[in-house]
Amino acid sequence: MSDHAIQVNGIQKLYGTVKAVDDVSFDVRQGEFTSLLGPSGCGKTTTLRMIAGFIDPSGGSIRINGREVTHLPPDKRDVGFVFQNYALWPHMTVAENVAFGLKLRRKKRAFIRNKIEEVLAVTGLTGYEDRLPKRLSGGQQQRVALARALALEPQLLLMDEPLSNLDRALRVSMRRELKQLQSRMKMTTLYVTHDQEEALSMSNRVVIMNGGRVEQIAEPYALYEAPASSFVADFVGITNFFEGTLVQCADGWDEVRLASGQVLKARAGEASAGKPGDVVRALIRPERIILLAEPEDGPNVLGGRVELSEYFGAVLRYTIRLDSGDVLRLEVHNFDRFLENGAPVQVRVPPEHLRVIPLDGRGRDAA
């Protein structure tokens, strides 16, 4: 068997003049859990559907387990698929929906019965065997779609936002079940999600798509900590950007002068951010910024006022209007007090977490 469960090579899909998918290439290794992440309409579903064989690519090639399948019909690919819109068969009950694929594989009746019981238990649908899909809630329908795919224990499972309609508690438990199944069955998984928590926590690797193209392929930590572009940085998690000019770069430390005149010290990345005088962008994650309890002087300390506070339970996110006019978002955890809107604050931007990336002349990431 090939080392790669999926090899996607330069695939394309045109709808008239709309380039839904444009020269996308990536591989998924055997047993790996890979996520496709990207903004709405960026071509995730289209890519997945080409791999499953529902759409004929306008160009490029697809291999599954080393075998060229680009133009193979879907039933010859042996790939599990969970549809974004569920696609439950309306004339079949929950149990029948699940059993269909098993019957096609001529499984024994007892086996099918057990399997139905098992996957419905996993998806929390025990007791719903005889319901018709139209009599289920949205989340229940979504779980049937998942159960239907899991029942076949596919070697390769493609899922298109399979948990999007589930509450967090259920999603967490489903995620756990999926991961367990995946490692137990050594099932290779390609997972489309809009939930980056999901993508980061479950995946071995993440493919970031944007506008029909691949932006970055990386492991979760690398993706979050070293995004290849501002787009990725901003799309995966929240990022604060400071624009300025590089004034010095030595000893692994860069210095950036902001428009306000203030200078920020930052850790230099592996690649050089440029030479003094270059326009650069400095990035930092909200959870890295420190909200100072006491006024403080020193490098990388900025003043401002609270503009908005958002409470997420475990997290409190402040949007701060800096004295320079820039906006900064920072997150605190394990907090006990709330700052009023308008309250003056000081924050420290730890240099070791501030990264500098070069910019081209027009204010976009240099290529």
Binding site: F54, P74, D75, L152
Partner: protein, 286 residues
């Protein structure tokens, strides 16, 4: 519940009460009357007309049962003919679709009598089909395709097919391609996906087509009249003859009552069968 379902049903029900039930009551009453001298009807209360039919095996077998058989067979053949055509038409658009539809409907547009002339050219003893078959040595003696049971079956199938295409179209169009994809994905071949997903989902349309064509064919009179012979005495034809040619309204009425009852039984049976199988599952509800 009543408040919700009554208003939409009331107009139809009233129209039917006034224009169907009332006249049919007269038919029911007439079925107990008597015909004198084969010429005129007098009021009576006799079961003669019923016993004349029910007591005669020829009527039971060669008209009633014969009609049921013909209707079943022709409807079934029409379905087989129509289904693929409907599948095909369902995925055409615009002009192509409209032209196909015109062609499919054409036989019905031009009227039965004219149509029969078209068929005569093809099917008569020295017609196109026989000439072709004889030229190809499929057989050497002309075969009779008209003015016997063959003609009746051919023509009923021919006329029934467009009706079934029409009734199927909408059901086919409504099937989301995702449902088929999902089936293909779990390993169903085109064929299996068709039988297990597409076919069941077209049941509402198929059912409509079956009911329509079965009823039309079961009651057919013009077709057996024009292209049948003495052995194709379908019950609709017998009723036509008794009522109009032989003036025997009482007997024709009794025949009608029997026919309506039988037809109703068959429809109820079909409704139960289809309802249980599939329709109820697909009904939209709120």
């Amino acid at each position: 519940m009543l408040r919700r379902i009554a208003p939409p049903l009331v107009p139809v029900v009233i129209v039917l009460l006034i224009f169907v039930v009332a006249p049919m009551l007269w038919v029911f009453r007439t079925s107990f009357n008597e015909l004198v001298d084969g010429a005129y009807m007098v009021d009576a209360l006799t079961l003669k007309n019923y016993t004349r039919f029910l007591g005669n095996p020829w009527y039971l077998m060669n008209t009633l049962w014969f009609s049921i058989r013909i209707a079943v067979v022709t409807t079934a053949i029409s379905v087989v003919c129509a289904y693929p055509v409907a599948l095909y038409v369902a995925r055409t658009h615009g002009l192509q679709r409209n032209i196909l539809m015109t062609l499919i409907m054409a036989p019905l547009l031009i009227g039965l009598v004219t149509l029969v002339y078209g068929w005569i050219v093809i099917f008569r003893g020295g017609g196109l089909l026989n000439s072709l078959m004889i030229a190809l040595h499929v057989y050497d003696e002309p075969v009779r395709y008209m003015w016997n049971i063959k003609g009746v079956v051919i023509l009923l199938v021919y006329i029934g097919t467009p009706y079934i295409v029409l009734s199927l179209l909408d059901s086919i169009e409504k099937i989301s391609p995702y449902l088929v994809e999902a089936a293909r994905n779990v390993g169903a071949s085109r064929w299996t996906a068709f039988w297990k997903i597409v076919f069941p989902l077209t049941m509402p349309g198929l059912y409509a087509g079956l009911v329509i064509v079965f009823s039309l064919n079961f009651a057919a009179f013009a077709v057996p009249l024009m292209v049948g012979d003495t052995s194709t005495q379908m019950i609709g034809l017998v009723i036509y003859r008794e009522a109009l040619l032989n003036n025997d309204l009482p007997f024709a009425s009794a025949l009608s009552v029997i026919m309506i009852a039988v037809n109703a039984l068959i429809l109820v049976g079909m409704a139960a069968l289809f309802g249980r199988l599939i329709l109820r599952k697909l009904e939209s509800d709120r």
